[in-house]
Amino acid sequence: MRDAQFFRRWMTVAAAAVEREADRLTELDSPIGDADHGSNLLRGFTAVRAALEADSAASPGAVLTLAGRTLISTVGGASGPLYGTLLRRTGKELGEAAEVSDDALRKALYAGVGAVAQLGGAAPGDKTMLDALVPAVAELGTSYRAAADAAENGARATVPMLARKGRASYLGERSIGHQDPGATSAALLLGALADVAEAS
């Protein structure tokens, strides 16, 4: 079973990963976007860290909804509402239980990813964060590491894709040949989850 502490660690490790990789995310966002994905997520996850320190969110659901709400209020752009919705919806699915099973987390994440797809109107293959998230939730039944690897592979698989959603879609054919920054940051989030699960 996973308690609130586990989810706090997930968010903290995710924040550290975003901090470490912010420049790379921004670099990926330069040729096909507007060169701010790293700095935007860094601002958001720094705020998440501060919000969690200031708040006594005592259940897994409360931790994730607080993190999601904080991202919506601080990131802006498309990634704020999309990541915010992912975490908020996942948190809401987890409800108020003090501890949740891995199976409950799997189902909640599945719902969270569904909410992201609905909000952004994108599907796998459109060169967005869903190309990492969808294969990842499919692998959650195997292990957290398998999910993280699937997200990583999914992010790499966006390189030859033609962008159909988000700002990269304005480039048409010229979006081909670049890894999607959103899929890359989604892989960081799943990687953090695997790291925390393996350490606990």
Partner: protein, 334 residues
């Protein structure tokens, strides 16, 4: 790269402090990033709220004031505002007549304004939204995010603002805004990339002697790169693309509003020279121009380049366009 700033992290707040110092007629909340027309609630008008990423100055905060926007919410550089900002702006300007959100068609802007609209309606505000999507360089199909909102934003904000100032109800202000958007088309060209303060280097690499056709306003590359062209050739391409698409709106005999816009690093000397070519192409094609603006209105930081926006204007739109406006960046008639 040398920039006139204190630090990349404070660039938006610093600009807002400067705006507050220069324009005592505006209420500038630097911390929460909302710029409100003083006494916005007086007169029982419909509120007009717009916003988007910073880096497009004078859009949008420069258009807050009499006859135009009631409030603007500037986001981080090239990043849409967050719902909290939009909600604060809406609450600050609503006098019970409702609020119109003017939103440019970018995924981030659309999502954040959508969330704000939901929250505002939960608080009992009446909200309408108009989506600006005038950029003909983007193929609008099910497989893209749709056309970008660019120069037409200024036409929408001016004309809807004039209607709100006259006391028109929310539905009519929203209808007019949608009509202006539907009658407007834009095309942009970059002669160089821009540099965001956070990144500190150009967002894309444009070799000497080349230009990008069909660019947006975020320093993203366009759809096509070509060897450098003359102002005359660029005007042919830009005006041609706009008119071809505008033909869908109806017969081409009516007058247009024209905006020849600089994207930040192109001097007015070049913009006026370019405008001479735009005016020539329009005359050759038999398109009467009713009003023209030449200048930097929808910029992309220090990007060199320009865009052309045309709006088919009937008598009503022209009357509202001519109505008095008094903002930091646009003023006439009062």
């Amino acid at each position: 790269m040398r920039m006139l700033l204190n630090s990349p992290g404070t660039v938006v707040a610093d600009a807002l402090r400067g705006m507050a110092a220069a324009h005592p007629e505006l209420d500038v909340d630097v911390e929460r990033r909302v710029v409100v027309r003083r006494n916005a609630r007086d007169g029982g008008r419909v509120g007009l709220v717009s916003g988007g990423g910073s880096g497009h100055e004078p859009l949008h905060a420069g258009f807050v004031g009499y006859g135009m926007l009631s409030a603007a919410c500037p986001g981080e550089v090239f990043t849409s505002p967050v719902p909290d900002q939009v909600l604060r702006a809406a609450a600050a300007v609503d006098s019970g007549q409702g609020v119109l959100f003017v939103v440019k068609n970018y995924t981030g802007d659309v999502l954040n304004f959508e969330m704000a609209a939901e929250l505002a309606e939960e608080d009992g505000l009446r909200v309408e939204r108009v989506l600006v999507d005038d950029d003909v360089a983007v193929t609008d199909s099910l497989y893209t995010a749709g056309r970008r909102g660019t120069g037409a934003t200024l036409f929408v904000e001016k004309i809807a603002g004039a209607a709100a100032e006259e006391g028109a109800p929310l539905e009519r202000v929203a209808d007019l805004a949608r009509r202006v958007n539907a009658a407007s088309r834009s095309f942009g060209v970059a002669l160089g990339a821009c540099t965001t303060p956070a990144k500190g280097s150009p967002t894309f690499d444009l070799p000497d002697g080349e230009l990008e056709l069909g660019v947006g306003i975020h320093g993203e590359p366009g759809r096509e790169r070509r060897p450098m062209m003359t102002a005359r050739e660029i005007a042919e391409v830009a005006v041609g693309a706009v008119l071809e698409d505008l033909a869908q709106v109806g017969p081409a005999d009516g007058p247009v509003l024209a905006l020849v816009n600089g994207t930040g690093a192109t001097p007015l000397l070049e913009l006026y020279g370019f405008h001479a070519e735009v005016a020539r192409v329009l005359a050759e094609r038999g398109v009467p121009v009713a009003r023209t603006l030449v200048g930097n209105y929808v910029t992309s930081l220090d990007m060199a380049g320009c865009s052309v926006t045309l709006c088919r204007a009937d008598e009503e739109l022209l009357r509202l366009w001519d109505a008095p406006v008094r903002t930091a960046a646009l003023r006439w008639g009062c």
